[in-house]
C-alpha cells in the first residue's frame, strides 16, 4: 500500500477497535453478560483485522510514482571483480 493508505489503515484500525470495545462494554453491561462483551469484542478484533491488515486496493489510491528505468540505465552497476589468486585480501570494491 502507499503512504496515504498506510495512514488510513492505521487510523481505521484504532478507531474500529475502540468503537467495538466501547460497544462491547455497553452491551455487556446492560445485558449483564461478561461473556457477551468478550464475544462482541473478539468479533470486532477479527473484523478489524480483515479490514485493515491485508493490502486492499482502497489503500492504494495514491500510488507512488517510481522513477523510469532510464536513469538507472545511465549508471550501470559495476561488474563484480574476479576472486584474486593466493592470499586472501579483504578488498571491497564499490
Amino acid at each position: 500500500m502507499d503512504w496515504q493508505g498506510q495512514k488510513l489503515a492505521e487510523h481505521l484500525m484504532q478507531i474500529l477497535l475502540v468503537s467495538f470495545a466501547l460497544g462491547a462494554f455497553v452491551t455487556g453491561y446492560i445485558v449483564g453478560s461478561f461473556q457477551l462483551m468478550l464475544l462482541i469484542y473478539a468479533a470486532g478484533v477479527v473484523l478489524t483485522s480483515l479490514f485493515t491488515v491485508p493490502n486492499w486496493p482502497w489503500f492504494n489510491k495514491h500510488p507512488l510514482t517510481w522513477l523510469e528505468p532510464v536513469e538507472a540505465e545511465r549508471h550501470p552497476k559495476p561488474e563484480k571483480p574476479v576472486a584474486p589468486v593466493g592470499k586472501k585480501k579483504s578488498t571491497k570494491q564499490k
Binding site: 500500500m1 503512504w3 498506510q6 489503515a9 492505521e10 484500525m13 484504532q14 477497535l17 475502540v18 470495545a21 462491547a24 462494554f25 455487556g28 453491561y29 449483564g32 453478560s33 461478561f34 462483551m37 469484542y41 478484533v45 478489524t48 483485522s49 485493515t52 491488515v53 491485508p54 493490502n55
Partner: protein, 168 residues
C-alpha cells in the same frame, strides 16, 4: 513502508491493551453494586462436648444456616465463597476464629439457601476455654470476580452460648 506483519502486530498489541482496559472497567463497575444480604443461623443441637487428652476442648454442633446473598452477584461475579466462623475471646487470644462450614455459590440462583448441617470442620479450642463460652457465629463471604477486585464482608450473629458442662 509497513508490512502485513507489522500491521498485524500493531493491531494485536493494541487490541490486547484495550482488552486489559475493558477488564479494568468491568471491575470498576462492581463498585456501583450495593449488596443487601440477609443471614440467619440457629444452633439446633450440641451433639457432644468433650476435652481431649491433650487438654483441648472440642464441641460438635448441628446448625440451621439460611441466607440470601443474591444481591451481591453482578455481571462480573464468578462465584461467592461463603463460610461460617465461630468467634470468641480467650485469656490467651483476643480473637479466636474457627471455620465451621463453607461453600462455593456458583450462580445467583443458588445464592438463596437454607441448610441443616453439622459443622464440616472441627470446632477445637487451643486449650480448655469453651465451657459456658459466649460465641459469635459470623457469616463471611468473598465475592470472587471474573476480573479485577474481590470484595469481602460479613454478618455477625451473636447471642450464642456453649454449655457449661461437657456432654456426650
Amino acid at each position: 513502508m509497513h508490512s502485513f506483519w507489522y500491521r498485524m502486530n500493531a493491531l494485536l498489541t493494541f487490541s490486547l491493551t484495550i482488552l486489559a482496559l475493558l477488564c479494568g472497567l468491568a471491575s470498576f463497575s462492581d463498585n456501583f453494586n450495593w449488596p443487601a444480604p440477609v443471614a440467619e443461623v440457629q444452633v439446633l443441637n450440641v451433639n457432644w462436648f468433650k476435652k481431649h487428652p491433650n487438654g483441648n476442648d472440642e464441641v460438635s454442633l448441628t446448625m440451621n444456616i439460611s441466607a440470601d446473598l443474591q444481591s451481591m452477584f453482578t455481571w462480573n461475579t464468578k462465584q461467592v465463597f461463603v463460610f461460617l466462623a465461630a468467634e470468641y475471646e480467650t485469656p490467651k487470644n483476643a480473637l479466636n476464629q474457627i471455620s465451621l462450614w463453607d461453600d462455593i455459590i456458583p450462580s445467583k440462583e443458588d445464592a438463596k439457601f437454607q441448610i441443616h448441617t453439622t459443622n464440616e470442620y472441627r470446632f477445637t479450642d487451643q486449650g480448655s476455654n469453651l465451657r459456658g463460652k459466649a460465641i459469635n457465629l459470623t457469616l463471611h463471604w468473598h465475592v470472587m470476580p471474573k476480573t479485577g477486585k474481590m470484595f469481602a464482608d460479613k454478618i455477625v450473629m451473636n447471642g450464642f452460648r456453649l454449655p457449661d458442662q461437657y456432654s456426650r
